[in-house]
């Protein structure tokens, strides 16, 4: 029985770790979709860039892929964000002129291009075979401390990203972002350089997504092109943001934890069934996620935690 309780404990740690990584990813999307109104449907691509950059920079030498740099985790994570940011800038130059739905189509295409590059540049990424033996922070500590320490690192980083985004949201910069989202023409009329602001939102969001990718690579200790499959790297992130509350950073985090828990824990129920049924009910999980999305879009379009606008300076809180 103690073993069982300990097992539940470890499971909860893994649930929170994955939830935390997804929360960082969702915060990245929140900058783009929530605040700036950019429909980026290529999350998986930037997530993958982050994951692969961190993997290549931290692994020991291997014949099958580029590597052997063995850089510290922090350096690799920063490099992942920088590379993602630079690529996002290039993508933004081309795509950000497009209006919302067209931007979505273009970014889906770009994410697929990234996935194909990861699959085919075998000298760098080992192609479909992926990169193995990625080091993980604290992995040499005894269980459960290794997992707790990694969870602490994820949650600490999440808190840091959250605080920074909250400061940004309440700053004049954040107000301009929401102004552009709500009424681009009037923002332009107020003398704001809409293109520059949109680019800033896009690049910052993509950098945060790459940070989440870096954490994921270390957590899984292995990364391959299947890990950037859009279902669990793009669409579920949108569900997390919409359910939690678009344009609310707390909501983004809450949505990530709620949806990941729902996704993961629902399998505990289906595994109780005989395998013939368990094989079929595995698909119900995908259905449930879709159903939750529909429910929230219909009944609570603003999510669990709706957006709260920061009070304007010089005015009383309304």
């Amino acid at each position: 029985m103690d073993q069982q309780l300990y097992g539940y404990g470890l499971y909860i740690i893994s649930l929170l770790t994955m939830g935390g990584i997804y929360a960082i990813l969702t915060l990245g999307l929140n900058v783009q979709w929530g605040f700036t109104g950019l429909f980026n449907a290529g999350i998986a691509g930037f997530f993958g860039i982050g994951a692969y950059t961190a993997a290549i920079l931290t692994t020991s030498p291997h014949t099958s892929h580029l590597g052997g740099f063995e850089l510290p985790y922090v350096v690799a994570a920063i490099a992942a964000m920088l590379i993602s940011g630079i690529i996002a800038f290039g993508v933004g130059k081309v795509c950000l002129k497009l209006r919302s739905d067209y931007l979505a189509i273009a970014t889906i295409g770009i994410a697929e291009i990234f996935r194909l590059i990861l699959k085919n540049e075998t000298d760098i990424t080992n192609g479909p075979r992926g990169i193995s033996q990625i080091p993980k922070p604290f992995e040499n500590l005894p269980e459960p401390w290794n997992q707790l320490a990694f969870l602490g690192l994820v949650l600490g980083t999440l808190l840091l990203v959250y605080v920074m985004l909250e400061v940004a949201r309440k700053s004049p910069w954040g107000r301009v972002m929401t102004a552009i989202r709500d009424n681009e023409t009037s923002a332009r009329a107020a003398g704001k350089n809409v293109e520059t602001f949109r680019m800033e939102g896009f690049v910052i969001g993509c950098m945060i997504m790459a940070l989440a990718g870096a954490f994921m690579a270390h957590y899984l200790k292995f990364i391959d092109p299947n890990a950037t499959d859009p279902l669990l790297a793009t669409f579920i992130v949108f569900v997390m943001l919409v359910v939690g509350g678009s344009a609310n950073n707390k909501g983004a985090i809450l949505g990530a934890f709620v949806i990941w828990t729902l996704w993961s824990a629902s399998e505990i129920l289906t595994t109780q069934l005989p395998s013939e049924l368990a094989i079929r009910t595995a698909y119900i999980r995908i259905f449930i996620i879709g159903l939750v999305l529909q429910f929230f879009l219909q009944k609570f379009p603003q999510g669990i935690l709706p957006e709260t606008r920061p009070s304007s300076p010089g005015k009383n809180k309304s």
Binding site: Y11, R129, A227, T271, I279
Partner: protein, 402 residues
């Protein structure tokens, strides 16, 4: 207050029932890509696993009449999903060991992130990537599916045995063929052979004459082709024959298809081409025992890795029986003990016999449906390979490589 007491009482009763129901069930994880890109394959592999489970439970079950329970987890062929699913099997379901996951990537992630640190044995029935061999796993990662690397070795042996010393080689520049080709080159040289020329080619070209001209330099006796038949293999053989450049061909399983004979002509190929292929020992009584039982459930025994799924489950059960308890830490020694090539032979379906032998303390050696299933020091099996040549009827004729 009354309600609270009633609730507490019913909770107690429920808990008692729960423990009563699970006391005699030993859980083994059955991880696989139930959803995802190879879902259809996995459904049949899981049927193979379930066949082993049903036979074992019908023939006395594990240990003291405990039932073997296979708990399905969906690794979805995705490292993220796999780590989550296998983590649940290990921590929430508290399984003794795990059969699966299906894809190499999903296996690689799950064992590194979850099972190696937890000390749980994983026995994969379909992960073939050579990178699984390299892991520092404390002897907890096994597989009954042969690594891709072994096919390179099998072709090298085949050519070497034919008395051929000088070989030219060409491979299609994709992951699978390039991987086998690299192993072949290394192994063939180690056997004392000479690779006169080695050239990668891009698939789907209209002609490979110029590549083949280059490859004839150095006087090779034969050419080894690592390619898919449709995208370049058939053209390469056609070009070689038309121009009289090569007349002896060796190829890996990417070239195995009837269309090779149909498009080039049986007379043109007879005695000239040999193709290796990972295979179940179809003439073997172990395979027959499995195939008959599997057919009776309405499934196809020739489906990819179904026999491996059966073997992995049967061996996991044998390991538990050998260990004498459902203790995670003892499974690896149990697995080593039941399939090291020595001992009384046990074949698929012979659970009652195996149980008795183990109880008597006799050493056993499981001979699986997918091959001998004896593990090397890395926990890999060398696998069974067959060689295909053109038969008199214009079809491929298969013979096992020994």
């Amino acid at each position: 207050m009354k309600i609270v007491r009633k609730l507490a009482l019913s909770a107690c009763v429920a808990a008692m029932f729960a423990t009563a129901a699970h006391a005699d069930a030993i859980k083994v994880g059955s991880a696989g890509g139930v959803t995802g890109p190879i879902a259809e394959l996995v459904a049949t592999i899981i049927k193979g696993r379930d066949l082993a489970r049903d036979q074992i439970n019908a023939a006395g079950g594990l240990l003291n009449g405990d039932t073997l329970e296979m708990v399905v987890g969906d690794s979805a062929c995705d490292p993220k999903a796999s780590v989550d699913a296998v983590g649940k099997l290990v921590n929430v379901e508290q399984v003794v060991g795990i059969v699966g996951p299906s894809c190499s990537g999903a296996t690689n992630a799950a064992v590194q992130a979850v099972t190696i640190p937890a000390g749980v044995v994983v026995l994969s029935d379909s992960a073939t990537a050579p990178s699984v061999t390299e892991l520092k796993d404390n002897d907890t990662v096994f597989r009954v599916a042969p690594s891709d690397a072994y096919q390179g070795l099998a072709i090298a042996k085949l050519i070497s045995k034919a008395g051929i010393k000088k070989v030219a080689m060409t491979y299609s520049n994709d992951d699978y063929n390039a991987g086998i080709a690299a192993v072949f080159e290394r192994e063939f040289k180690a056997m004392g052979g000479e690779v006169t020329a080695n050239q990668a080619h891009e698939p789907k070209k209209a002609s490979y004459r110029s590549e083949l001209q280059t490859l004839t330099a150095g006087g090779p006796e034969a050419i080894a082709i690592f390619a898919y038949y449709g995208s370049s293999g058939i053209t390469i053989i056609k070009n070689s024959l038309e121009n009289g450049l090569f007349s002896k061909f060796y190829a890996a399983d990417g070239m195995f298809d009837q269309s090779v004979i149909d498009q080039i002509g049986a007379d043109n190929l007879k005695g000239k081409i040999s193709i290796t292929q990972a295979s179940s020992d179809t003439g073997d009584s172990s395979y027959q025992a499995f195939a008959d039982a599997f057919k009776a459930t309405g499934a196809d025994p020739a489906a990819p890795y179904a026999a491996h799924g059966y073997d992995a489950t049967f061996m996991m059960a044998l390991a538990i029986e050998k260990a004498g308890s459902a203790d995670r830490a003892k499974i690896k020694d149990g697995l080593r003990a039941i399939s090291n090539g020595t001992g009384e032979i046990v074949r698929p379906g012979e659970w009652a016999k195996a149980k008795k032998l183990i109880a008597d303390g006799t050493a056993i050696n499981y001979e699986g449906a997918s091959g001998s299933a004896d593990f090397d020091e890395n926990g890999d099996v060398s696998g069974v390979f067959a060689v295909n040549v053109v038969g008199d009827d214009g079809k491929w004729t298969k013979a096992l490589l020994k």
